[in-house]
């Protein structure tokens, strides 16, 4: 995956290494770094995994490792949850009873 100069990309950074983490964080969190992801226009051509400077939508310059070119959204409505169908059926039964429509 390659980004050309001017492509909309996402970069990744380590903000704090595990050793630099705040004293109050729980032990499991202390084992991992504090990471950051930001999107912006690549200021130079780069390959995935390479360091590149970006300009964010507000005009900030951020340098980080290129992780994605043309980032978009993948969140969805998830998988079918059969329990949900039962709720509506039960409520209509309690409120309106059988097939009758009030």
């Amino acid at each position: 995956m390659k980004a050309k100069k001017g492509d909309w990309v996402m970069v990744h950074n380590i903000v704090l290494t595990p050793e630099q983490r705040a004293p109050q964080v729980p032990d499991d969190t202390k084992k991992v770094p504090l990471e950051m992801w930001v999107k912006g226009y690549a200021q130079a051509a780069a390959k995935k995994g390479e360091e590149v400077e970006i300009e964010t939508i507000t005009g900030r310059k951020v340098t980080g490792t290129l992780v994605e070119v043309g980032p978009t959204y993948a969140h969805s409505f998830g998988n079918h949850v059969p329990e949900l169908l039962k709720i509506g059926k039960q409520l209509r039964e309690i409120l309106f009873g059988g097939d009758s429509i009030e």
Binding site: Q20, R21, F77, V81, L95
Partner: protein, 469 residues
């Protein structure tokens, strides 16, 4: 170039904040526990009329109230004869950014523009991000939202991922981080770098922005049913929703009981990397609600304007399964599809309505928008993918992080009362810990009376107990 180490940046915290908010909090301080809360609200906030104008100019507020007749009928089928209050819902999801947070953001962004800031920054994984981004778009300001979004395997909470999309839809820059309180460090660095305004959730103008909600609610209910609601239920996390709403109700002269409701997430650590995706609610839960109620001054400003214990008559928790069930119920029998987190207070209200008389009125004071990621199905699907068992049963047996129990029957929905005496004592204990002594001034004692909505006797008795320990 200044020192960017964690310690150095945290050490510059007060200096950075003063520049980024434009409030010198020291003028309200007494030097010990007490500070002049009402003076702070008066001198740095806006009047109700000013706020209605500011919000009205960007289409915020004046949201409709629905009477949930089918839900009321359902509650009555699950109650003793003569019980089952009329349930009403204020549809705050109808605000421009899809939640009541638009009220807080409208004031904050207006204020930022008035002071001449070029942009605004907010640290939030919640609906407030979209609210600030939406207002910044309307006012032509730049906007950065800093979110805690992912665990260390880059798995994001679907609800938060959706909120990032919404912020970006309004032209904001979204900075996403992994779990941890050091988000504040990144936030400070960005404030320093940009010189933007800190559109904190907890400033006087932000909290005052919610007063219009409580005020409107009282006026609307008087027009609708000719009286004030007996009970108003507020979802409680950082405390701003409840504080602002209660202050607005007071300004309208309403003496409704104010009930706080949070999703019970006890046992889960909010800063834990491995537990981050074991929860199904990222706001409106006890992980924020309890600490912020028992000690409000833990936010991104020196003195929080959200002080919920001053206004709270009762505090209940509901299970995740109950809130998801009620979210589905709202869609299925009322034809209103809204986001789960905003329905925390709805689940509590359904339970409380069953205790109340038929001629009484209970109002749920918010809803939030719904969509991909931020919806009962993706949130339950995500939970199941993360090893959480989902089943029908008795929600009282739900164990956060292990299972989600949907009630087998709506009569099983039962809000659980938290011990208000314990909560009030906890705030006094936290205050005493700040100064390291129970031998405090008369002004401090009177301040704690206000903070806990109790009496001088109660505060003195608690101080005595603490000194004996």
């Amino acid at each position: 170039m200044s020192n960017m180490s964690y310690e150095a940046v945290m050490g510059r915290k007060n200096e950075i904040m003063k520049k980024a908010i434009g409030i010198d909090y020291s003028v309200f301080e007494s030097g010990s526990i007490a500070f002049d809360f009402e003076k702070m609200m008066k001198e740095t906030g806006y009047t109700l009329e000013e706020m209605q104008k500011i919000q009205g100019e960007t289409g915020v507020g004046n949201t409709p109230i629905y009477e949930l007749k089918n839900l009321t009928a359902l509650a009555r089928k699950c109650s003793a004869p003569g019980k089952g209050a009329r349930i009403f819902l204020k549809d705050e999801g109808a605000n421009p950014s899809g939640s009541f947070k638009a009220r807080r953001a409208a004031n904050a962004v207006f204020h930022a523009k008035k002071l001449g800031y070029k942009g605004v920054i907010a640290a939030t994984s919640g609906n407030y991000g979209a609210a600030v981004a939406s207002q910044a778009a309307m006012h032509g300001l730049k906007c950065i939202i800093v979110q805690e979004c992912y665990d260390s395997t880059y798995k994001g909470q679907p609800e938060i991922v959706e909120k990032a999309r919404k912020c970006e839809a309004y032209g904001a820059e979204v900075v996403q981080l992994t779990v941890g309180p050091e988000l504040f460090y990144s936030f400070l660095l960005m404030l320093e770098e940009t010189g933007y305004f800190n559109a904190s959730l907890y400033t006087p103008f932000g909290i005052a922005g919610v007063e219009t909600l409580g005020y409107e609610l009282a006026i609307q209910m008087r027009e609708r049913v000719g009286k004030d609601p007996d009970v108003v239920v507020c979802t409680n996390a950082g405390g701003g929703n409840l504080s602002g709403t209660a202050r607005g109700l007071k300004k309208a002269g309403a003496d409704s009981k104010v009930v706080a409701a949070s999703v019970n997430l006890s046992g889960l650590h909010m800063a834990s990397d491995t537990q981050f995706n074991k929860k199904s609610f990222t706001t409106g839960h006890t992980g924020f609600g309890i600490p912020f109620t028992t000690w409000p001054d833990r936010s991104d400003v020196p003195r929080s304007a959200a002080r919920p214990l001053r206004y709270m008559d009762r505090y209940v928790t509901v299970a995740q399964g109950e809130v998801f069930y009620m979210t589905e119920t709202l869609a299925q029998i009322e034809g209103l599809e809204r986001g789960p987190a905003g329905n925390t207070s709805l689940a509590a209200a359904f339970s409380i309505a069953k205790e109340m008389d038929e001629d009484q009125i209970i109002v749920v004071q918010e809803t939030e928008y719904t969509g991909a990621g931020k919806h009962v199905q993706p949130q339950l699907s995500f939970a199941r993918d993360n090893g959480i068992e989902i089943k029908f049963g008795n929600p009282a047996e739900e164990v956060p992080g292990e299972n989600i129990i949907l009630p087998s029957h709506p009569e099983m929905i039962k809000a659980v009362d938290l011990d208000m005496v314990k909560i009030r004592k906890s705030l006094i204990k936290n205050a005493v810990n700040q100064v390291g002594t129970t031998d405090i001034s008369e002004a401090d004692i009177l301040f704690l009376v206000e903070e806990t909505k109790t009496s001088k006797e109660f505060v003195l008795e608690t101080l005595k107990e603490l000194s004996e320990k």
